[in-house]
């Protein structure tokens, strides 16, 4: 028997050959990488002064051990690597390893850019990696919430609102109870509450899910903003002063150079995020719950015929997603700065949504997407403090440009779960 997935894949391939002829997707991308790579080699190479070194510090101490690279040679070299992979794709090689080749091309382009920017200066790599992970945590949890909802067929545009509500509840209840743990639980419940409203209105009342998500974001902004102005702001000490989670040093592992400070000296929320990615990823593919979730998201009528309670599965997943996004919100308050600020989620929920699409609705993909956006964000603040020649406005755009490129260009053909966004009505 041939599964529905296989049929689809071969259809796509047949179609792409028939329609595009010589200019297949990998050839088109190859051409782009070739041009971009040559551009990098020429422009970044020429812009770098000869004889300058770019230092990538590996030690946590500023000015400690690091890699000293001759900036110009490496800027040109990495540009050429990017161009070469492009040429190879254009010539028809590596078509089967399109993903890996693309990764090589992009990474070498970024490295070429960095050699130019860092020339005559030093870039703390460990600090950069630490920040990447730190900035990615709310995004990881947010897009994981999206994965849970959308794999069972409910679009969640309300991630932004869930993060915001989570951040607010975390700060408020964390302050009242003077405990970061209470804040964390309250944040999860806050996010879960928005998730529950989303679930009821989408599943029971069949409201258009995208519209609903936007409305819930407005609702969350309004409620938290109002409560912040009226209660938190006048009584900061009592209501907006939660304790924060300390960084937990995992014994032995935390002492490994480079990797240790990045991976094993984080707050509990960061560890939780990574554990949740692994758990959800395994559960989706290996457990009964996962099979049911996917069935409901792809073909609810079939699932129903087999006795799976479609709406129950959806309710459960959307609310669980809300709980997880709420924890992501806690990462913004009790997981980092403590105090809540108006609209502090600042669009992170939408970036999480982009990470979800970039990651093709899989938990590990969402993790990678979130890390990519975290990296763009961390890079932006690192570069702007090196007195980069690129205007700071453009550097600020980095995460968003990365989002657009990633979602519009890199993912190529993605397929959402077939029943995503379609309410299930028994007939």
């Amino acid at each position: 028997m041939v599964g529905p997935g296989q049929v689809m894949v071969s259809d796509v391939v047949a179609e792409s050959v028939a329609v595009h002829g010589f200019w297949t997707r990998s050839r088109k991308s190859g051409l782009v990488y070739l041009i971009v790579g040559l551009f990098a080699a020429v422009v970044f190479g020429l812009a770098t002064k000869a004889g300058e070194t770019a230092t990538f510090t590996l030690s946590t101490k500023p000015g400690g051990a690091g890699l000293d690279l001759p900036a110009r040679a490496f800027a040109i070299g990495f540009g050429l690597v990017c161009a070469l992979t492009g040429a190879a794709l254009l010539a028809g090689y590596f078509r089967r390893h399109f993903g890996a080749t693309t990764a090589v091309a992009i990474v070498s382009f970024v490295l070429s850019f960095l050699c130019w920017q860092v020339a005559g200066n030093d870039l703390p790599l460990v600090g950069l990696a630490q920040q990447t992970l730190f900035l990615a945590v709310p995004l990881i949890l947010g897009s994981l919430a999206g994965v849970l909802g959308e794999r069972s067929g409910v679009i969640n545009v309300a991630i932004e609102g869930q993060l915001l509500t989570g951040a607010f509840c975390g700060a408020l209840f964390g302050s009242i109870a003077a405990s970061a743990w209470v804040g964390l639980v309250a944040a999860a419940i806050g996010g879960g509450l928005i998730g529950a409203i989303l679930a009821v209105l989408a599943i029971r009342y069949l409201v258009d899910q995208v519209v609903l998500g936007v409305v819930l974001n407005v609702f969350a902004m309004g409620v938290t903003g109002y409560l912040y102005d009226r209660f938190m702001q006048p009584n900061t000490q009592a209501y907006n002063n939660p304790p924060t989670f300390p960084a937990i040093h995992i014994p032995l592992l935390a002492d490994i150079p480079v990797i240790g400070p990045v991976l094993f000296q984080n707050t509990i929320i960061t560890y939780l995020a990574i554990v949740l990615v692994v758990v959800v990823s395994l559960a989706l593919t290996k457990t009964r719950w996962g099979l049911r979730t996917r069935a409901v998201g792809e073909h609810p009528t079939a699932a129903d015929t087999l006795g799976i309670r479609v709406r129950l599965v959806r309710y459960r997943n959307v609310i669980m997603g809300g709980l997880i996004a709420g924890i992501g919100g806690a990462a913004l308050t009790v997981g980092s700065v403590g105090q809540f600020g108006k609209d502090m989620s600042n669009g992170r929920g939408f970036i999480a949504l982009a990470a979800l699409i970039f990651g093709r609705w899989s938990p590990t993909g969402a993790l990678l997407g979130a890390l990519l956006f975290g990296f763009a964000d961390a890079l932006q603040s690192n570069l702007s403090s090196l007195n980069s020649v690129v205007p700071s406005q453009f550097l600020t755009m980095l995460p968003y440009i990365a989002t657009i490129l990633a979602v519009a260009g890199l993912v190529g053909k993605v397929r959402a779960p077939a029943a995503d966004g379609k309410p299930y009505v028994k007939s």
Binding site: T60, P62, G63, D122, P124, V126, G127, L128, Q130, Q131, F134, L135, I197, L201, R204, Y205, L206, V207, V211, L212, V215, V218, F219, A220, M221, G222, V223, G225, Y226, Y228, D229, R230, Q233, T236, Q237, N241, T244, L332, S336, V337, G338, Q339, G341, K342, D343, M344, N346, D377, A378, S381, N382, S384, S385, N387, P391, S392, T396, V425, K426, S427
Partner: protein, 376 residues
């Protein structure tokens, strides 16, 4: 057959009705959310302030905020504080405010107060200069005041602050206190009221290097090219934290954030270092306005908006003409350096004396601050 048809019809009707109810519920959520957002934006109900006009011996002072809103922990809050101080000082003063949620609101808000017959209308923020100029020209008999800008009209009183002077002192202090030989600064937006601090800070660090033959480095701002790090937000604390962590990983140990609420992210980061790193707050004395993090504030560069607004309102109430321009500087105590608070015992006596001396030298003109963002 007929029975199933009826059942199907009923089911469809039920589905349609459910959708209608759903849309109704969503509308309630949307309207509720929006009206709460608006209610939050409109500040306190003006019940006790709005009464009375210019008659009856009352002096009505009205303030239009910038987009930061009345609770920005920064210049809007200071100005409102000044208004309330004036009210406390003189019972015939009534005050009221309206908040601008975007730059498009400036003109209508100012015009609204002209129509409400306010005796004095205070516009807060340099971005409002054009709107104040326009409305003041159209209403030559109405008294206006503006903060952080210079409007050369006879019915406008301009209040500006030369914060580059105390920032110069702060730069010298930071350079003297840095153990790592690196200090840092970043701004909320690249606008003169922000960069003026950064310029002064940069010059203070340079002056220290010149005097002591040291080479303390400043991260995040280059006065010559006017380029630096900006959070592009006056509210995002996590952004502030991320920028601060970048600076710390690059070796800085003292940070001057000129970014309103974003600065809280810097304070919370340096506060976690057990005294190895510190923050210099701006606008307010940090130990008063963000007292949670008092232990991490080396000092604060203060800007006496509240005091000068209060003076202006009280003078206006007494019938004195408000015109020309006021520039707060070290000499008239319109700006200054806050006490060291928790750091008092850690700053060496000699350094304290030097910082004070620099203040005196700036007042006497022995040291000139070069920042082009300074008010003239």
């Amino acid at each position: 057959m007929k029975a199933t048809a009826t059942a199907r019809w009923l089911l469809r009707k039920e589905t349609v009705l459910r959708r209608v109810r759903g849309v109704r519920l969503v509308t309630v959520l949307a309207v509720g959310g929006l009206s709460l957002a608006v209610a939050a934006g409109c500040g306190k109900p003006p019940a006790k302030n709005a009464s009375g006009g210019s008659g009856g011996g009352q002096y009505k002072a009205c303030m239009v905020t910038d987009t930061g809103g009345i609770d920005d922990h920064s210049f809007n809050a200071s100005a409102w504080q000044g208004m309330q101080d004036a009210k406390a000082a003189d019972s015939s003063v009534v005050v009221q405010n309206t908040q601008s949620s975007s730059e498009q609101d400036y003109e209508p808000n100012l015009t609204k107060f002209v129509q409400a017959k306010c005796d004095l209308i205070v516009g807060v923020g340099g971005l409002m200069a054009d709107a104040v100029t326009k409305v003041a020209k159209a209403n030559p008999k109405q008294q206006f005041a503006i903060i952080d800008a210079n409007v050369a009209l006879s019915n406008v009183y301009s209040m500006q602050f030369n914060t580059a002077q105390p920032a110069f002192q702060a730069g010298y202090l930071a350079a003297g206190m840095s153990k790592t030989g690196k200090v840092a600064t970043y701004g909320g937006l690249k606008i003169p009221p922000v960069t003026i601090y950064e310029d002064g800070f940069a010059e203070g660090v340079a002056y220290y290097n010149q005097q002591k033959h040291k080479s303390v480095k400043l991260l995040g701002w280059d006065e010559k090219s006017q380029k630096g790090v900006f959070a592009n937000s006056f509210t995002d604390q996590n952004k502030g934290q991320s920028i601060t962590k970048t600076f710390l990983s690059q070796g800085a140990d003292i940070v001057l954030p000129v970014a309103g609420g974003t600065a809280q992210g810097t304070a919370s980061t340096t506060a976690a270092s057990n005294g190895k790193q510190s923050t210099i707050f701006v606008d307010f004395d940090g130990c008063v306005s963000a007292s949670t993090y008092c232990k991490t504030f080396l000092t604060s560069v203060t800007k006496g908006i509240a005091g000068s607004v209060k003076d202006a309102v009280v003078a206006g109430q007494k019938g004195k003409p408000l015109t020309g321009s006021y520039i707060g500087d070290l000499k008239n105590k319109g700006v200054g350096l806050a006490p060291y608070h928790d750091w008092d015992s850690k700053v060496p006596g000699a350094l304290k004396t030097e910082v004070t001396q620099i203040g005196a030298d700036i007042e006497s003109g022995k040291i000139t601050v070069k920042s082009t963002a300074q008010p003239k």
